[in-house]
């Protein structure tokens, strides 16, 4: 089972990351004072810069890979990670709680055919890393192979590593005091926006750190990976009724992400999406046409096709899309992409967690199923290049094929034309979570806000309704696509086999001619 959710779904801040400092720019949390230059705001590079402060050297990596290959694995890699984040949160008018965590460790992977051995440790000593490597090595049973003598860059056909999230100022240089005004301003403005607002909570999270991947083919790359998100949640009361809703934004961005425009939109959307719920009518039940609004409706693609195109399920023959590459799955104007390259997007990565440059992958090209999302194991299995989709939650997990930013490209129709075409149906505008069964193809997404469409017009708002469909059947039923593609700015997190990774999604306005709406009025 695969799940997708926004930050808003979670009421608590448990699991948030990080550590801050004082007025003086805080040091990297938990680490000794950096030796030499400050942590780089730099594109990926094929040398050990960030991790030098932890005593990581090429010689240590070579020794670890040597142990990993001692039993004849085909391939081995080491994945170092340092992730430091912080969350400051406001409740009942005050920024009165903070959360921080430091995650530091290394995972060692050995691959034999399509079998994987994996070990990890939080201790970056040679002895601990060699132990983890020996654990991983036991997947194989053969003669020892040599570790690479030298390490090099492998940026792929592009010739250079991309730089998709270079910050002017890294989060390690932003003091907690600089974040406070954002929380306080959102609180004040949200209460001012509507007298019915009774409770406001705000959470500001940021993350800095880096990963280093080095493998038995002698490839090495280090990538500095920032992240930030800000959520705003409010509860309103009207004539004895209460409703709660909110808005959140996220990206691999710095403090300058939080522009006046963005903050104003957060307040407008959070309040608007909450108070409209008082006017909502019971959503209908049964099959009907739906219109998915541009933006976060990309959740439809994530569930209906994205997961099913992850190559591990296809390699295992368990996806509903197994054996369908090259076959028509949608109208010719449907083009669906999974893209690691959008500047600053939450789902973007320069290199994946196997060191491959992440590009733009066409899942559906002119209505035809085009390319699976590959990690190195599935790429080898299918004898194709990796799509740079091998991702992991942390050093505690081996990578697997994952989505990055999944969206549909523009089509030939207009938004107004699409809404006008629906006699009785609903428009879905805002979502909290979704889920899919890969093999059966059944998927759902939960609509927090929407509208009834009656005789081609938006009439009453609706709320809290789950929509359920079957991936390939729904793809066939996407019969109108507008030209207003928007990538959602929200903080989506995708869960698969116990690993969570940040993703993005987007879509232009589209129509699905029939799907089951889980409402309350048959």
């Amino acid at each position: 089972m695969l799940k997708l959710a926004t930050a808003l779904g979670a009421a608590s801040l448990a699991g948030s990351l990080g550590c801050g400092g004082n007025e003086a720019p805080p040091r990297i949390g938990g680490a000794p004072p950096p030796v030499g230059p400050k942590p780089p705001q730099a594109p990926p590079q094929a040398k050990i810069v960030y991790f030098a402060r932890f005593g990581v050297t090429e010689s240590l990596i070579r020794d670890a890979l040597g142990v990993a290959l001692a039993k004849g694995g085909d391939y081995a890699d080491v994945f170092f990670q340092h992730r430091v984040g912080s969350t400051m949160a406001l409740e009942d008018g005050e920024v009165n709680r903070a959360f921080a965590s430091v995650d530091l460790g290394v995972g060692v992977r050995v691959v034999k055919g399509d079998q994987t051995g994996y070990g990890y440790t939080e201790e970056l000593t040679l002895e601990a890393i060699k132990n983890a490597a020996a654990t991983a090595a036991s997947i194989a049973d053969g003669p020892s192979r040599d570790a690479p003598a030298i390490f090099r860059a492998d940026p792929g056909p592009g010739g250079a590593f991309p730089a998709r999230y270079l910050l002017k100022r890294g989060w390690e240089d932003v003091s907690p005091k600089e974040k406070l005004p954002f929380l306080l301003a959102l609180n004040e403005r949200t209460f001012k926006a509507d007298p019915r607002v009774k409770k406001v909570s705000v959470g500001f999270s940021d993350e800095h750190g880096a990963v280093l991947v080095a493998d038995s083919n002698g490839r090495l790359v280090e990538d500095v990976q920032p992240m930030t998100s800000l959520y705003l949640s409010c509860v309103a009361e009207d004539k004895g009724r209460r409703e709660q809703n909110g808005y959140n934004v996220a990206g691999r961005e710095g403090l300058d992400f939080y522009t006046e425009d963005r903050l104003a939109r957060m307040v407008r959307e959070a309040v608007g999406r909450t108070v409209i719920l008082f006017d909502a009518v019971q959503p209908p039940a049964g099959e009907m046409p739906i219109v998915m609004a541009a933006g976060s409706s990309g959740i439809l693609l994530h569930e209906a096709i994205g997961h099913g195109m992850e190559a591990d399920f296809n390699r295992k023959n368990t996806s509903i899309y197994s054996d369908r590459i090259g076959k028509p799955v949608a109208k010719p104007f449907v083009n669906i992409v999974d893209d690691g390259s959008i500047d600053g997007a939450r789902g973007s990565i320069n290199v994946d967690d196997e060191g491959n440059v992440a590009g733009k992958t066409l899942l559906v090209d002119g209505g035809t199923l085009a390319t699976y999302l590959h990690d190195s194991i599935s790429a080898k299995f299918y004898k194709v290049p990796s799509t740079g989709s091998g991702r992991r939650e942390s050093f505690r997990f081996p990578p697997m094929p994952r989505m990055r930013s999944t969206y549909m490209q523009n089509g030939p129709h207009k938004r107004d034309e699409i809404i006008a075409s629906v006699k009785k149906g609903i428009l879905c505008t805002n979502f909290t979570n979704g889920q899919v069964n890969i093999g059966a193809g059944d998927f759902t997404f939960y609509v927090k806000n929407g509208f009834l469409i009656e005789d081609g017009k938006l009439t009453r708002p609706i709320k809290d309704v789950n929509i359920i469909g079957n991936g390939p059947k729904v793809l066939e039923k996407i019969d109108m696509v507008a030209d207003d593609l928007a990538i959602d700015e929200g903080g989506w997190t995708c869960g698969k086999n116990g690993q969570s990774v940040p993703v993005s999604q987007g879509i232009p306005t589209v129509r699905v001619s029939a799907i089951t709406v889980g409402g309350r009025k048959a």
């Binding site: 799940k3 779904g9 550590c19 801050g20 400092g21 004082n22 805080p26 040091r27 949390g29 938990g30 680490a31 009942d92 920024v95 009165n96 709680r97 903070a98 959360f99 921080a100 430091v102 530091l104 079998q115 994987t116 994996y118 990890y120 939080e122 654990t135 036991s138 997947i139 907690p176 005091k177 406070l180 009774k198 009361e237 209460r242 709660q244 049964g286 099959e287 295992k316 368990t318 509903i320 505690r396 979704g434 889920q435 899919v436 069964n437 093999g439 059966a440 998927f443 759902t444 997404f445 939960y446 709320k463 789950n466 929509i467 359920i468 089951t516 709406v517 409402g519 309350r520 048959a522």
Partner: protein, 440 residues
């Protein structure tokens, strides 16, 4: 004193040296091994020992909760320095202190029986043999020729935590944990590749269901998914299988927390003491179940565990009140979250309860959906089977249920005596009347 408790106590002292007035530290160490086996061979083995600390700092009424896996002495000092400094930038919060030590008192000394003395017997070879046995059992079923793939998982761990606070709390917990699961994918003539299976978790290896039984039942479940179709959109009786009923209970728990109430995000606010649900609905929080998956002697704040009714014959009796939000609400704390949940008073099992249903749906799985904790409105995807004239009929998928939590639990008309043993939520089979289904 264990080494881990020593780590926790030293970190408490260090946090105080760094300027925290009070502190709570939880140190943990866990050995985890997970084997995934697919179609006759190992797919993945992960093995590691993980450790770290979680620290709650109370710096002059300013609160920060932090964690780190970097326990090098100089790194830990720096981390606590930074964390205290971060806390100092916050607004003081008069409600933030450690709990009154009186709440730590009266801790039971019961043996919860959470450690399997035979944990050490689990070797790499034994795990592989079990994974293979599960697959062989799954493939040994009649009709197995439509199986596309079988994945089995075998995992075990041995985890310890130690907690100490600056106002005198000390506590430790150790458990062994074992889990197995089987997932079977089958070919449906209509082109779909439905999968289903079973899993179980337990503190004692010997308490897991026999591999033969689990494998066979997993394939039977997967084969039963073939031909699943959406059902009619109408109001029907719903029978929920014991192992998945926790999804419905979980939706209630979110609204039962003191935070939800204090933040005006609970449809249960002001309802304690009122007969809100159907008379058949009784739910007891019991932290002392021997071998229970949620058993504990104290909770995350150190409060001594107690058994208490949450819902009794339909009357909401208590909420989950942690120390902080309890202060804000002027309510005495109960505990921060559920331990084991028991649902006594039922009769019969799934097959018997199906017999009493003329026209309905048996739900064997949920898919997505959500519950609005502020209003109680829910909308959830389901799969399972139609029930016609007391018999399990054709498979159902791509279907949804919707309503309000209060209305749902008021219409709980039958409860089984068949609690699901492999979860902290020991839900029995449950039968609800008049649930809105949406399909075709």
């Amino acid at each position: 004193m264990s080494e881990l408790l020593d780590v926790a106590k030293k970190a408490v002292s260090l946090a105080q040296q760094k300027g925290a007035k009070e502190a709570r530290v939880t140190a943990y160490r866990s050995r985890d091994v997970a084997l995934q086996w697919r179609d006759g061979k190992v797919e993945n083995v992960t093995e590691a020992t993980t450790r770290g600390i979680n620290v709650q700092l109370y710096v002059d009424g300013r609160y920060a909760s932090v964690s780190t896996s970097d326990l090098r002495p100089e790194a830990l000092e720096r981390f606590l320095d930074d964390s205290v400094a971060m806390a100092r930038t916050l607004t003081a919060d008069a409600f933030r202190t450690l709990p009154d030590p009186k709440l730590y008192a009266g801790r039971s000394s019961a043996d919860l029986v959470l450690v399997d003395p035979k944990y050490g017997d689990r070797t790499a070879d034994a795990r592989r043999a079990l994974a293979k046995q599960l697959e062989d059992a799954a493939r040994g079923v009649k009709g197995a020729d439509v199986i596309l793939s079988v994945t089995t998982n075998v995992a075990d761990s041995n985890g310890r935590t130690a907690r100490a606070t600056s106002n005198g709390f000390e506590g430790e917990r150790e458990s062994t944990d074992f889990s197995v699961s089987v997932d079977v994918s089958v070919k449906d003539p209509d082109g779909r590749r439905p999968s289903d299976g079973l899993g179980a978790s337990s503190h004692f290896f010997a308490d897991l269901p026999p591999a033969e039984e689990l494998g066979r039942a997993s394939t039977a479940r997967a084969l039963a998914r073939i031909g699943a179709k959406k059902t009619e959109s109408k109001v029907m009786t719903m029978v929920v299988e014991n192992r998945v009923a926790r999804r419905l209970v979980g939706a209630l728990l979110g609204a039962m927390t003191a935070r939800a109430v204090q933040q005006k995000q609970s449809f249960l606010e002001g309802k304690v003491g009122t007969p809100l649900f159907g008379k058949l609905f009784t739910m007891i929080d019991d932290p002392f179940v021997p071998k229970g998956m949620g058993s504990r002697l104290f909770d995350g704040e150190g409060i001594a565990a107690k058994r208490f009714p949450v819902v009794e014959a339909g009357v909401l009796k208590a909420l989950y009140i942690d120390d902080y939000y309890g202060r804000k609400l002027h309510l005495a704390p109960t505990t921060a979250g559920a331990s084991n949940l028991l649902f006594p008073g039922g009769k019969g099992d799934l097959e018997e309860l199906i017999k009493g249903v003329k026209d309905g749906v048996l739900v064997t799985g949920f898919l997505g959906g959500n519950t609005n904790g502020t209003t109680g409105d829910y909308s959830l995807g389901v799969q399972g089977f139609r029930i016609r004239d007391g018999k399990r009929a054709e498979p159902v998928g791509e279907t949804n249920i919707s309503g309000n939590q209060v209305g749902l639990w008021q219409k709980l008309v039958k409860v089984g005596a068949d609690p699901y043993a492999f979860s902290s939520m020991r839900t029995p089979t449950m039968v609800f009347d008049a649930v809105q289904f949406a399909g075709v």
